[in-house]
C-alpha cells in the first residue's frame, strides 16, 4: 500500500537567507524517485522537511493525507525510514546491532528473534553478512553506508528516504544499490526517495526524477523529460550531450577548457527570487 507524499507551498529560510520558496510536490506512485540538484540547493533539507526532522518555515507536508505537523515522531517513524548521508556514531555497536536499531519503531523494548532475522536478511541484501559481528567503527566509509542502508531496509517502511547513499561506493556498488532500491520499490510497492549526485546512475534506475535549482523545482518527470541538455546547462552550467542507452538518457559532458579555477559556476551566480 503506497503512502502518498504531498508537499504544498513549502518554503524554508534562515533569517534573511531563503533556501526554497513555494515548493509543490506530489508522489503517489510507488517506485524509485531521485532528487537531483547542485550543491547547497537544499536537497538534504528538503528531505528533512518531508520526514519531520526539520520544520519548514512555510507550507505543509502530508504523508498519506495526514498533516505531518500534527503527527507524532513515532507515527512518522512507522511509515518513513531515513538513511542519513554520514554515520555519526559516538559509541559504536556491532554491525548487526546497528542494523537492529532500524527495528525500534516496530519492535518492543527487547529484540525478538524475528527482528534479528529481518536484520540479517537486510544485511544479506547488502552483501554484508560476513561483517555482521564486526564493530561498526572498524568499517570503511563505504561499508558504513551499506550498513546504514541495511538499517533503513530493516525498518520495513512504506517510504524509504536515502540521502546520498552511494557517495562513498565504487561504481559497481553504486549501480547495484540503485538497482536494489528500484527493485525493492517495485516488489514492496513503496516509495523510495533518493538524493543522488550521479546523474547517469539516477537516470538509469529512477522511475521519476525531481530536479531542484535555485530554491525551486525546475523539472519533474521521467528521466527522458528531466535529463536534457537544456536542463543541465541551466542548472549546472555545463555543456552536455544527451545520449540514449538501455532506453534511458545518458549525459556526456563537454568540458570548457577555457574556464579557470576561481570562477564560480554559472548556477551559483543566480539568486533565489
Amino acid at each position: 500500500m503506497t503512502v502518498k507524499i504531498e508537499a504544498k507551498g513549502l518554503g524554508l529560510g534562515y533569517g534573511d537567507i531563503r533556501i526554497w520558496n513555494d515548493l509543490n510536490l506530489e508522489i503517489a506512485e510507488p517506485g524509485l524517485v531521485g532528487i537531483l540538484g547542485p550543491n547547497g540547493v537544499g536537497k538534504s533539507t528538503f528531505m528533512y522537511a518531508l520526514n519531520k526532522i526539520l520544520e519548514p518555515t512555510e507550507g505543509t507536508v502530508y504523508l498519506g493525507g495526514q498533516d505531518i505537523r500534527y503527527m507524532d515522531y513515532k507515527d512518522v517513524a512507522k511509515t518513513v525510514a531515513y538513511v542519513p548521508q554520514q554515520s555519526n556514531e559516538t559509541f559504536a555497536m556491532s554491525v548487526l546491532d546497528t542494523v537492529l536499531m532500524g527495528r525500534y519503531p516496530i519492535s518492543g523494548f527487547t529484540t525478538s528473534e524475528e527482528d534479528v532475522k529481518v536484520a540479517i536478511r537486510c544485511l544479506k541484501m547488502m552483501n554484508l553478512t560476513d561483517l555482521a559481528m564486526r564493530n561498526f567503527n572498524e568499517l570503511s566509509a563505504g561499508q558504513h553506508q551499506k550498513v546504514m542502508i541495511a538499517r533503513g531496509l530493516a525498518q520495513e517502511p512504506q517510504i524509504l528516504m536515502l540521502d546520498e547513499p552511494t557517495s562513498n561506493l565504487d561504481i559497481y556498488h553504486q549501480v547495484y544499490v540503485m538497482k536494489l532500491l528500484r527493485d525493492i520499490a517495485k516488489e514492496q510497492g513503496i516509495i523510495v526517495l533518493v538524493i543522488c549526485h550521479d546523474l547517469n546512475v539516477a537516470s538509469r534506475f529512477a522511475d521519476r526524477l525531481i530536479l531542484l535549482s535555485n530554491g525551486a523545482i525546475v523539472a519533474d518527470g521521467t528521466s527522458k523529460e528531466v535529463i536534457t541538455a537544456e536542463n543541465i546547462k541551466n542548472v549546472y552550467g555545463m555543456d552536455a550531450e544527451v545520449v540514449e542507452s538501455d532506453g534511458r538518457p545518458y549525459i556526456i559532458y563537454h568540458v570548457d577548457e577555457s574556464v579557470r579555477m576561481g570562477e564560480s559556476p554559472a548556477y551559483e551566480k543566480k539568486e533565489v527570487p
Partner: protein, 379 residues
C-alpha cells in the same frame, strides 16, 4: 606491551564468535544468527561474572574494620540478626551486632547504592550527550547539588525541612548546571572535551561559592562539612539508607527504561528523530533523572567522582555499547569499584581517608589508561 593491544586482546576474548566456524549446509544467515546468539550469551556471562565479583567484594568488605571481629563471626552475627537470634544477655553478641549491622552494613550498602546510581547516571549521560567524558561530576551537576545541600545544612535555607529538604535543595541547584549544559549544546554545539571543560569551570565556580559559605560558617561545622563534601560514605546510618537507596535504585530503573532511546540518540539527532524519538524531550527527561540521582547521592555522601566516568568505559570493553546491557553492567561495576576503593582505602591507607579521594586516585589513572588506549577516534 602496548596498552592498546592489551585492550584489543580483551575485546577479542570478549567476542567468542571468533571461534565459530560455519557448519556444513548452514546458510550465511543461519550462521550469523548463531554468531549473534553466542555474542549475546557471552555478554550475559560477563554480567554474571560481574555479579560474582560483586558478591566476593561485598563479602570481603563487610569483614574489614578496626573493630576486632573474625571473618566467620561477622557472618554468624549477620545470620543471627536476620533470624532474630541475637542473645540479649551476651554483651559480645550485642556489640558485634551493633558494629556489623548498625555500623558496617550501612556503610557498605551506601557504597553499593552510590556506585549503582553514579555509574548508571554516567552511562546514560555519555550516550545522551554523545560525550565519552560526561558524568554528573565532570559536568558540574554534582557540584551544584553539593552547593544546594550545603546551603540547607549550614545556613538552614530549606524549602522543606529534614533529609528530603536537603535532597530537594540539592536537586534545585543541580538543575543549574544541567540546564546550562542543555542550552549550551543546542546553541554552540561544542566538542566533547570542550563541554567537559565548561563543566569543570562550573564545578570550580560552585566550589568557590561553597568555600565562601564555609568560611562564613562556624569553624567546627565548616571543617566537618569540608571533609564530608570531599566524598565520604562513613557517615551514613540506617536512617538514611532508605532515602538514598530508593533515589538511586529508582533512578537506575528510570534510566533503564530509557535505554533503547539512548541507543538511538547515539546515531545523531537526525536519525534518532527518524526513529520516532522526540530528541529534545528525551534529553530533558534524562537530565532531570540524572540530577535527581546526583542530588540524592551528594546530599548524603558529598562528591564522589570518577565512578560515573570510568565504570561505563570499562563495562563497554566487555559488553559493548548497547545501553540495555551496558547500563546494568555499568551499575554493577560502579558498585564493585566503590567496594574496591573502600577496601583499598582501609587496607593500604587507613580508614580515615574519604572515599572521594580514593576514587579519584584510583579512577583517575584508570581513566587516563583508557583514554590513551582508545584506538578509535571519538573526540
Amino acid at each position: 606491551m602496548n596498552i592498546g593491544n592489551l585492550l584489543s586482546e580483551i575485546k577479542g576474548r570478549a567476542s567468542l564468535s571468533k571461534t565459530l566456524v560455519m557448519e556444513e549446509g548452514e546458510s550465511d544467515e543461519e550462521f550469523v544468527f548463531r554468531e549473534y546468539k553466542v555474542a549475546r550469551r557471552s555478554k550475559v556471562l560477563f554480567i554474571a561474572g560481574f555479579v560474582a565479583l560483586f558478591m566476593v567484594l561485598l563479602g570481603y568488605k563487610i569483614t574489614l574494620g578496626e573493630y576486632d571481629i573474625g571473618f566467620v563471626e561477622v557472618y554468624e552475627t549477620l545470620w543471627k540478626h536476620i533470624t532474630g537470634t541475637i542473645d540479649p544477655n551476651s554483651k559480645i553478641e550485642l556489640m558485634n551486632d551493633n558494629v556489623v549491622w548498625d555500623q558496617r552494613l550501612p556503610r557498605v550498602l551506601t557504597a553499593i547504592v552510590v556506585g549503582v546510581g553514579l555509574a548508571a547516571a554516567g552511562a546514560a549521560m555519555q550516550s545522551m550527550m554523545k560525550n565519552p567524558l560526561a558524568d554528573p561530576y565532570t559536568t558540574g551537576i554534582s557540584s551544584g547539588a553539593l552547593f544546594g545541600a550545603t546551603l540547607a545544612m549550614t545556613l538552614g535555607l530549606y524549602i522543606v525541612s529534614g533529609y528530603y529538604g536537603r535532597v530537594l535543595n540539592a536537586f534545585v541547584f543541580a538543575l543549574v548546571p544541567a540546564l546550562f549544559i542543555i542550552t549550551l549544546s543546542k546553541w554552540k554545539k561544542p566538542s566533547p572535551a570542550m563541554m567537559i571543560l565548561v563543566g569543570i569551570a562550573i564545578m570550580y565556580i560552585f566550589n568557590a561559592f561553597q568555600s565562601y559559605m564555609m568560611l562564613r560558617a562556624d569553624p567546627n561545622a565548616a571543617a566537618s562539612v569540608y571533609t564530608w563534601s570531599v566524598g565520604s560514605i562513613g557517615m551514613t546510618t540506617w536512617e538514611q539508607i532508605p532515602i538514598i537507596g530508593i533515589i538511586s535504585l529508582l533512578g537506575f530503573a528510570a534510566l533503564f527504561i530509557m535505554t533503547r532511546t539512548l541507543n538511538a540518540l547515539n546515531s545523531g539527532d537526525a536519525y534518532a528523530k527518524s526513529l520516532g524519538i522526540n530528541v529534545d524531550r528525551v534529553r530533558i527527561v534524562c537530565l532531570i533523572i540524572i540530577s535527581v540521582i546526583a542530588a540524592g547521592i551528594v546530599s548524603f555522601t558529598g562528591i564522589i567522582g570518577f565512578i560515573g566516568l570510568v565504570s561505563p568505559h570499562i563495562a563497554r570493553i566487555f559488553v559493548g555499547s548497547d545501553n540495555r546491557i551496558l547500563l546494568p553492567a555499568s551499575a554493577l561495576l560502579g558498585a564493585c569499584m566503590m567496594l574496591i576503593c573502600d577496601i583499598v582505602s582501609f587496607l593500604i591507607i587507613g580508614a580515615t581517608l574519604q572515599i572521594g579521594i580514593v576514587t579519584a586516585m584510583i579512577g583517575g589513572p584508570i581513566f587516563m589508561l583508557i583514554l590513551i588506549a582508545q584506538q578509535k577516534e571519538v573526540w
